[in-house]
Symmetry: T
Subunit: 154 residues, 12 copies
Amino acid sequence: MSENLLKILVLHGPNLNLLGQREPEIYGALSLEQINEQLHQFAKEQGAELHFFQSNSEGELVDKIQQAKSDYQGVVINAAGYTHTSVALRDAIAAVELPTVEVHLSNIYQREDFRHHSYLAPVVIGQVSGFGPESYRLGLMGLIHHLREKNKEC
Amino acid sequence: MSENLLKILVLHGPNLNLLGQREPEIYGALSLEQINEQLHQFAKEQGAELHFFQSNSEGELVDKIQQAKSDYQGVVINAAGYTHTSVALRDAIAAVELPTVEVHLSNIYQREDFRHHSYLAPVVIGQVSGFGPESYRLGLMGLIHHLREKNKEC
Amino acid sequence: MSENLLKILVLHGPNLNLLGQREPEIYGALSLEQINEQLHQFAKEQGAELHFFQSNSEGELVDKIQQAKSDYQGVVINAAGYTHTSVALRDAIAAVELPTVEVHLSNIYQREDFRHHSYLAPVVIGQVSGFGPESYRLGLMGLIHHLREKNKEC
Amino acid sequence: MSENLLKILVLHGPNLNLLGQREPEIYGALSLEQINEQLHQFAKEQGAELHFFQSNSEGELVDKIQQAKSDYQGVVINAAGYTHTSVALRDAIAAVELPTVEVHLSNIYQREDFRHHSYLAPVVIGQVSGFGPESYRLGLMGLIHHLREKNKEC
Amino acid sequence: MSENLLKILVLHGPNLNLLGQREPEIYGALSLEQINEQLHQFAKEQGAELHFFQSNSEGELVDKIQQAKSDYQGVVINAAGYTHTSVALRDAIAAVELPTVEVHLSNIYQREDFRHHSYLAPVVIGQVSGFGPESYRLGLMGLIHHLREKNKEC
Amino acid sequence: MSENLLKILVLHGPNLNLLGQREPEIYGALSLEQINEQLHQFAKEQGAELHFFQSNSEGELVDKIQQAKSDYQGVVINAAGYTHTSVALRDAIAAVELPTVEVHLSNIYQREDFRHHSYLAPVVIGQVSGFGPESYRLGLMGLIHHLREKNKEC
Amino acid sequence: MSENLLKILVLHGPNLNLLGQREPEIYGALSLEQINEQLHQFAKEQGAELHFFQSNSEGELVDKIQQAKSDYQGVVINAAGYTHTSVALRDAIAAVELPTVEVHLSNIYQREDFRHHSYLAPVVIGQVSGFGPESYRLGLMGLIHHLREKNKEC
Amino acid sequence: MSENLLKILVLHGPNLNLLGQREPEIYGALSLEQINEQLHQFAKEQGAELHFFQSNSEGELVDKIQQAKSDYQGVVINAAGYTHTSVALRDAIAAVELPTVEVHLSNIYQREDFRHHSYLAPVVIGQVSGFGPESYRLGLMGLIHHLREKNKEC
Amino acid sequence: MSENLLKILVLHGPNLNLLGQREPEIYGALSLEQINEQLHQFAKEQGAELHFFQSNSEGELVDKIQQAKSDYQGVVINAAGYTHTSVALRDAIAAVELPTVEVHLSNIYQREDFRHHSYLAPVVIGQVSGFGPESYRLGLMGLIHHLREKNKEC
Amino acid sequence: MSENLLKILVLHGPNLNLLGQREPEIYGALSLEQINEQLHQFAKEQGAELHFFQSNSEGELVDKIQQAKSDYQGVVINAAGYTHTSVALRDAIAAVELPTVEVHLSNIYQREDFRHHSYLAPVVIGQVSGFGPESYRLGLMGLIHHLREKNKEC
Amino acid sequence: MSENLLKILVLHGPNLNLLGQREPEIYGALSLEQINEQLHQFAKEQGAELHFFQSNSEGELVDKIQQAKSDYQGVVINAAGYTHTSVALRDAIAAVELPTVEVHLSNIYQREDFRHHSYLAPVVIGQVSGFGPESYRLGLMGLIHHLREKNKEC
Amino acid sequence: MSENLLKILVLHGPNLNLLGQREPEIYGALSLEQINEQLHQFAKEQGAELHFFQSNSEGELVDKIQQAKSDYQGVVINAAGYTHTSVALRDAIAAVELPTVEVHLSNIYQREDFRHHSYLAPVVIGQVSGFGPESYRLGLMGLIHHLREKNKEC
């Protein structure tokens, strides 16, 4: 595979560290570590290297996105609860100008009204929701595809 | 590949027959035939057989979903303009109880307000938007993944 | 029975052709054909002749209402999903000036918010909802009663 | 008629005691007593016994619904003005768990906006509106039908 | 005074029996009895006879309005809290077709938002608010004027 | 009459100069001059002197209210169309701190929605609407009553 | 216990007389009499005497609050359905100026939207909801605490 | 007239085929054929050739707009009921990039609220409403003027 | 031309005196004087005489409309910014009962939300928007057509 | 006291560390330490052990709730400003499935509109507001009561 | 000071001529003349010449802005009540394309809801509010800074 | 300069540390360090000492405001994204009762709707927006002016 190695940051927002323990009938039985491991394997096959970061703090997630600028070519983010309340995260994504993909485990349109609105959606490339942990993999593929296309143009 | 062949219906809503001609700087240079051809190749590798249908008529799309019940295991739909106005399509999807995935070429959250609401979203498995023609491929993968998992459970 | 024979058009909107197959625990086990047959028998006893038409297409339903003008004295309509989205159907009913009754199998006020609003309600004589297939019979009786009263006045 | 006699309570809300006197061109020339008498005759033929109660007081109507539990199999209610403002009546209906039908003389959706919303609608079996006094008879029929069906199941 | 004697009903809604005791700095030091006495004197000079009724019960107020039909030529009502919540009172006023004037001690548009809306306003001749007990006298005069004009026309 | 002479400004807003010509079946046959004349006579009996001003210009009405401060003890205003759109008039009334009464010929709550809201209502003593030209006289009486009461307190 | 005996009125609104019979899985198996008995015992230990009153009539509840003024030092009220619709009750509470606590058996914020708004909340000391019958005891304690503190200040 | 012949498509939406029969006191006595004939004559004088198409089906109207691309220089459309509900028509107009003018027989701003919003307005050149059949002629003139100006620029 | 000469008032609202200087790429290079001259020529050919008036003052525009009553048979108005904020202008148009046509240079539905609502639209014959200076000519033609038709009826 | 010792976490949100210093006329003169000390004493008598945590950081509060799962049987939370803006806190409470009680010092329904909505309310057992520091004690009692009842059932 | 002299127009909207007399505890004791004098001194030191204009008329303010184009380099405006209601002023500012700064004496976000929205804000450089007369000085400095920077670029 | 030295805290919210790098065509080419340096120089001349703090964390900003109480006389804050979402910051500002000024680099009223609302505005002295880095200097001047005036009063 002669294409350059892509470095991608995968961000997990608040409460996602509880995956596997929390309502497994809804969110699936996989822990966050297992999801990360699967993504890691898949990315390797695609010529991409992933780094993972989870935090319950809005400020730490903003910090991380800012720092990503120099080290990564793109971001996959599941901002969880901050999706619906954080202008700061939105501004960080817009500011660093790194191609970003928004993912959600559940179909947010089948849940409470306040989950139907995302502050991030207008500043990301695309959004994937409803496929469980598979949402991450699909979002990652979309991002890689986007980065490869962009590189071709250059 | 010992898994059963999956039969999947891919539905394209109004004005998608103009792809390639219509605002190529936004929607890309691929025609609908080219997108279908690429999806067909990809599906074949995944052990799935696709059938395609495009219509500008809400009623014909409803008819097609109803008929899909006996012939297909799942549906990928880009309902285009009907996404935001059709209760009839939503009811058809809910009635046939076929796993359905909703896709959009553009990031509908970066466009006019009336495009932020989807009547279909609450009755589909998941939604993929913003990746151009790649949205179809990601949506199809999500659907195949979902169907394979469901089969394992049986 | 010395009263004149009444000719009435019964219109079924999108997805109602699936009755009996679709979520029978909600919509009952009767097929549309069986409902039509029962209505037919009942109408005969009341000195009325019914004609039935089902379509998933908004345009075909509009066509049918327009053509009804010369052949029928009244209309019973279950517009299903189009109840909530079609100004064209409303305008057709208002234009032909045939007494029309709106029926719904389910109690639309117990369902999603978007089903609480009917474009048709302001242009029909009355509305019956929530009694399952019996809604049709009640609506038909209301219409016949209305037509008999009107005839007496002449 | 081998079916069991059904006992049904017919409740009339505020101002309905004025029927016949009040705007006869809209509400018809029948007094409440005449409507009750016609319903009584009709119910007898159907093997049902009716009891009538009218009050202008929200509290008395709530009292009556509570007491109905032990003596009746169902309720027909025209809550008139309380339809749009009374959570107490709604809670009473929900609490006694007697099958209840909501009726209105006029088409409430052709009137002022505040009459488009009914607090009762979500807790009743069904709703009939717009047929004048005939609304009562249709509602009663819907209720009897519902009760006979329920009895068959037992 | 050759004009006919006018008989007018003055209705006081919930909590108005507390006048004089309740927040006198806002509502003034006059008790309801004193207000009634002043109105009585004033009406006598105008050739009108007043009858007064206060109740905390919505139903009793509705009863009273209905009974007013045969005994009075007009109604002055301060419905207090029921102004903002009672469709039943509105319907009673509309039904008896007695010229009615709505009065309020305080300027309801300077108070909480929910007091800005009156269910009665659309069915009364006019509304007077904000003049303290004088509101009653102004409303009464407006009513008498209206009734005298109407009599002239006959 | 030993009470001091009261000087009161009566302001008529846009289009009120057309009274008598404009839709007389709604607004009555009296011209603005005739209304002014009647008010003048009535005020004289009450020991008050009126000055009248009509303008179609928001700015001129604001000017007039400002100048009223030194010459008048109170204002009666029918701001007509500016009632619903002018913050400038509201601020002028609030600034000069002259007791002001708002009047309307028609019942503004029976008209278009945008007429239900008054920018002036929260800064005036009281409001009278719906009695035709009589609204002015009632409003004037309310104002005189208010000013006499205030004088007594001093 | 040297503190003065406190006299407190406990008001139960519409349908609360059905407690124990009505949906026991939601509202618990205790009847209103049993709740009253428990509260009575508890109050006695706290040096308080309770009187209980239940009514389905808004007007009777308003009457009771008015009469409470001279006999009680405070009120605990579960206004049930009237919580969301009664301005009259709110005005009564505000008028008598007796410290009042609002309680609800269920968590009203987990129920229908219209139950999220309380007309009483802005005029009471505090609100307790969601603890079943324990809500009454907590509300009563909050009230007693408040009254003891107030007495100390005097 | 040395200018090039312009080819223009005139589209009539649902229920417009009933013109002349339907409420002639509102919509005028002209049938759609007569309107088309008059437009045809007028266009001929202006050096334009018109083709007409009416359909009650949203999908057929979308089809027609798409096909217009290669054969016409501009479109005049009266989308009737679909004006207010069709995103698909809007997208078709935007996609083909043919100069389009929106016309309405009646003044849509004097009718029901839902008719005040047009999905088409933001993607057309201009809008003409309220002049009866004359609206078509004015819209056509506006379109021809626009096309002639555009040609001059080239 | 045997038809009577029509006298028509053309009103230009605030900031239209800047035409030609102000953002010519949007509003065109014609000055208001040039537009008036063109309209004048066109009207002459149609047997109509035009008078023009521009003002930045809402009150002056209201004055002018009132005075138009005796001198003109109709009005063409581009109220510019006052379109969206002036009830006074609306009331003036309604009061003088002169046939009036509303015109806009730009397509107001492609601009800010607050420009989508017109206070004038419900009281005018018709509206033309989006054709630049040509909007005036089309509006004028619509008005002349309307006046000629009305004259024929007499 | 033979019942098991209950371990309960008491969480204080942003700015509560300022208690005693901040607007003491509103929030009381007690510091957070004093409130904690009183709660501690009270809990001890009830056989419960409390741990306290205050933070101005949303993320730290989320962390703490997650960690509570293994060490505590329940949570008392005053989320202060985060009550109205934090979906992350809501999700944390829902995820750990520990019985939680929401408390507020002030009556949040008497304050600004944005404080009337709580993201936490739908996922907690119950809510206590308006009693000052006493709100904590009442909330704690409600929680202990709830836990004791639950233990009995096991 | 070698920089060019800047000419700046300072506009005061309705009721600002009352400053010093009107509610001095809120708006301060300075008259408009005193504010103008202070600004004049300050501007002189900054190499700017100010001209002042106050009007209660929306139209006159629009006129003044239009005329400013040729004589001034920038505008400072306190539009007072017109801030919230005038599209005409907004359009004038946008049309003349003079750098404009919006100032308010009071903090408009601490006042009534309708004062939170400004029609001018989107077309000005910046906004200063809440500092009393100092707001003018700060706004003026911001404008001078902006003009100096712009000049440097040329 | 004999006036006391003022100590002022300057707070920068999320993403402001990216200034100079982030969209320089919008936010200018100055880095946050350069802005701080300029402010520092300017403050020194005014007899004020500044301390600077930037954080992406809402909680840290709240902490800092609380600690400011004892060390500073005032605060200048650009809360960036937290302006629109943080009740916690608002409560902190209200609690410490330090005069605070809100500044924004860009004109927030020219951006997305959600940026038009500020939680901070009602609790600060004043607001400055739209002047780029100059907004900080103007806000600082307004604060110093306010503090000097307050000191004079003492």
